[in-house]
């Protein structure tokens, strides 16, 4: 039998066709349609009026971004130590922790968020429990805090996973070297752990921020009618009473541009400094 080099990537290229077709039909075409709707009147003429409609909702945009940033920061602060601890655990410990984190994901997103409603309600479990000690009742549901909580709860694993996978690659001797050179825990964190985890932080932040800023389920279920986010607005333009796909498309475009901008800024920190860090 003679070994002949396979034609480069022929099979791979062939196998990629279904996805490429899928991308073309279900991603590129709809994107084009959103662009088209965003810049046209219902009659089909070019207009920028739709974007004036967006300006009215600047407050909602700002609130979405603010809440998402808060949720992302909380995820980072909570997830970083967890990711670090996990990365220093033994094989079994790491697998157990990963399992525990994945477990809730086997349940429906809706169901999980719905569960928080019953917990946070005025007559919910938490208030009833606090009531035993004569505390409350507190109004927790339908607040911005509840929305942030929902975001953190649902997206925290997406922060921990990339952090964990980058941190297991940090050799223990590098941390020992820092301690050896006089670094206390704070120095080790600021000068070694954080910079070396940066790629994981960036991935984690992206994976928490993007779905948070565009969510509409969490805000509708936990935020009540008073805490509409962009996602809810867009949804209303397409499915709600204020049917207006032109304005909805314009909103989506603005949101997209904003996400791209923010991601661009975040990714700027990762300017190739880490290249080849994992020797």
């Amino acid at each position: 039998m003679t070994l002949r080099p396979a034609r480069k990537g022929s099979l791979a290229a062939f196998a990629a066709v279904p996805y490429l077709v899928w991308t073309a039909i279900f991603i590129l075409v709809p994107l084009g349609m959103v662009l088209w709707f965003g810049f046209t009147t219902p009659e089909g003429g070019f207009t920028l009026e739709n974007f004036q409609g967006v300006v009215k909702y600047a407050g909602v945009f700002w609130k979405s971004i603010r809440l998402s940033i808060i949720a992302t920061l909380i995820c980072l602060v909570v997830g970083f130590p967890v990711g670090y601890l996990m990365s220093r655990m033994g094989e079994v410990g790491q697998r157990t922790m990963l399992m525990l984190m994945m477990l809730p994901m086997w349940m429906s997103f809706l169901l999980r968020t719905y569960a928080w409603m019953t917990l946070l309600e005025r007559e919910g479990l938490i208030n009833r429990f606090l009531g035993l000690f004569g505390l409350g009742p507190f109004s927790m549901i339908n607040t911005q805090g509840a929305v942030v909580l929902g975001m953190v709860y649902n997206y925290l694993p997406f922060m921990i996973l990339p952090l964990h996978s980058i941190m297991i690659k940090i050799d223990r001797s590098i941390i020992e070297a820092a301690q050896d050179l006089g670094a206390n825990s704070l120095h080790v964190l600021a000068r070694v752990l954080l910079p070396l985890s940066l790629p994981g932080i960036i991935t984690g932040v992206t994976m928490v921020f993007v779905p948070s800023v565009s969510t509409f389920i969490i805000s509708r279920m936990l935020g009540g009618g008073t805490n509409l986010l962009i996602g809810d607005l867009i949804e209303q333009q397409f499915l709600g009473s204020t049917y207006n796909p032109q304005v909805g498309s314009a909103m989506s475009l603005v949101l997209m541009v904003m996400i791209l901008l923010i991601m661009g800024i975040i990714n700027h920190f990762d300017n190739g400094e880490m290249e080849g860090m994992l020797v």
Partner: protein
């Protein structure tokens, strides 16, 4: 000279294994001390205890007379060069070296000057802006040394720092390290398993095995006067034979009584006799000398390595003159070339305690065998005497007992193995070569075990 660091009776166990067993060591200021031993001997653990990365279960660590057992690493005036350098991959050469100084919050200009002059010492001038993962192994090594030394520690710990370098570079770096040590006057504690490296570089060599210090002293003393057969075997090549000390300065070897310079072993005591291969001259045979036949010659570059069969033993001889295979030669060496050592294993046979556990059945070390006609009641303690040659080394699947091989020394016509099992050691003579510090299987020749009533004492 002042004592810089002292270890006093350090004991450290990990998951039931004793990593360090009563290690005491004292290091003086300005010395270059090397911890030498095979892997798993506890040398790196000793270093980690000094650096603060491991805490001893028992014993004290003293730094300039003060106990520092519980002082965390970042508060110790000690810096470490790690085995695989452990450079910070996100920082360039300058920032790696400046790391410790920046934490001390020294003025910028002072940091710059100290880093630059340190980079000059390690021959890395002009590399400040380089990324560390773009450097060669030798260059990374020098960054690691500069990063540690720039803090002007009183003590520098080096954990097999040259292990990843090729031979030529190793030699260069050895000389460079010695130069740096002399220039800076910093005390170095250096860990290696390479005996040549240890002998070349050190003022003091500490030989370790199984968590116990075997010998410490000047390199010349370690080489010329090894304390036991393990040290002799580990440091350089040696002829190690069984001998009997008839009286002070008289040792019996190969059927002759030879004059040596050692004494104090008592009369007719079995000992290990060590003669270095380069201390033996091959001369024409004569009656006063041990004589033998050359059985092998290998050219080694500087010298010839010859095997000589003499008195039933195989002798190793180094000489710049070759003798052809088959030639009859006399072995000439002086009394000062004979080194007498205490045996690693006391006695020449294994004495174990067993118990009668049934009719004609005896059990020891979880092994049972039958001895027809024993006629002792159940529960009687007995003494089992097993000759070292009656234990066979076999694969673990076929073994009566799995044991840990502590040492293996070639004794001229057989290997002397000391193994560890159930809290005691056994002596085995074997013709097979085995990997030291691993588990091996052994089988007993039950018919040859001598059984006697237990004479008393509670020792097992």
């Amino acid at each position: 000279m002042a004592k810089l660091i002292e270890l006093k009776n350090i004991v450290l166990s990990y998951e039931g294994d004793r990593i360090l067993d009563n290690v005491s060591l004292s290091i003086e200021s300005g010395q270059f001390v090397t911890l030498l031993g095979p892997s798993g001997c506890g040398k790196t653990t000793t270093l980690r205890i000094i650096g603060g990365f491991a805490t001893p279960d028992e014993g004290d660590v003293l730094f300039e007379g003060k106990r520092i057992n519980d002082l965390p690493p970042h508060k110790r005036e000690v810096n470490t060069v790690f085995q695989r350098y452990a450079l910070f991959p996100h920082l360039n050469v300058f920032d790696n070296v400046a790391f410790g100084l920046k934490i001390q919050k020294l003025p910028r200009e002072e940091i710059r000057q100290r880093v630059l002059s340190m980079l000059e010492i390690v021959d890395l001038k002009g590399f400040e802006k380089r990324r560390v993962n773009r450097l060669s192994g030798g260059q990374q090594q020098r960054v690691a040394i500069a990063r540690a030394l720039v803090n002007r520690p009183k003590l520098l710990l080096l954990d097999e720092p040259l292990g990843a370098l090729d031979l030529k570079l190793r030699r260069d770096m050895q000389l460079e390290l010695m130069n740096i040590q002399r220039k800076t006057g910093v005390t170095f504690v250096y860990v290696t398993h390479d005996q040549e490296e240890a002998l070349t570089m050190s003022d003091v060599v500490v030989v370790m095995k199984d968590g116990v210090i075997q010998q410490q002293g000047r390199p010349e003393d370690i080489y010329n006067e090894p304390e036991n057969a393990f040290v002799a075997d580990f440091i350089g090549e040696s002829n190690i034979f069984d001998g009997v000390m008839e009286a002070d300065c008289k040792v019996r070897l190969c059927g002759r009584t030879l004059t040596c310079l050692d004494g104090g072993f008592g009369e007719n005591r079995p000992v290990d006799v060590v003669i270095r291969p380069e201390d033996i001259d091959l001369v024409p045979p004569s009656d006063e000398l041990l004589t033998g036949e050359v059985t092998g010659v290998v050219f080694k570059g500087v010298h010839y390595e010859m095997a000589v069969q003499c008195g039933g033993l195989q002798w190793l001889i180094h000489s710049t003159d070759a003798h052809p295979v088959g030639e009859q030669v006399g072995l000439s060496f002086g009394p000062d070339d004979i080194h007498i050592m205490k045996r690693l294993f006391e006695g020449s046979e294994n004495v174990l305690r067993g118990e009668v556990t049934g009719e004609d059945e005896v059990t020891f070390c979880d092994v049972s065998f039958e001895r027809p006609g024993l006629g002792l009641p159940e529960g009687t303690p007995v003494e089992l005497i097993i000759q070292p040659g009656d234990i066979e080394v076999v694969s673990i699947d076929h073994a009566h007992l799995t044991v840990y091989l502590e040492s293996l020394i070639y004794k001229g016509d057989y290997n002397e193995l000391v193994v560890w099992t159930g809290g005691r050691s056994l002596l085995i003579h074997s013709y097979l070569d085995q990997q030291v510090a691993t588990d091996i299987g052994i089988r007993f020749d039950f018919d040859k075990i001598r059984i006697a009533p237990w004479k008393g004492g509670e020792t097992v």
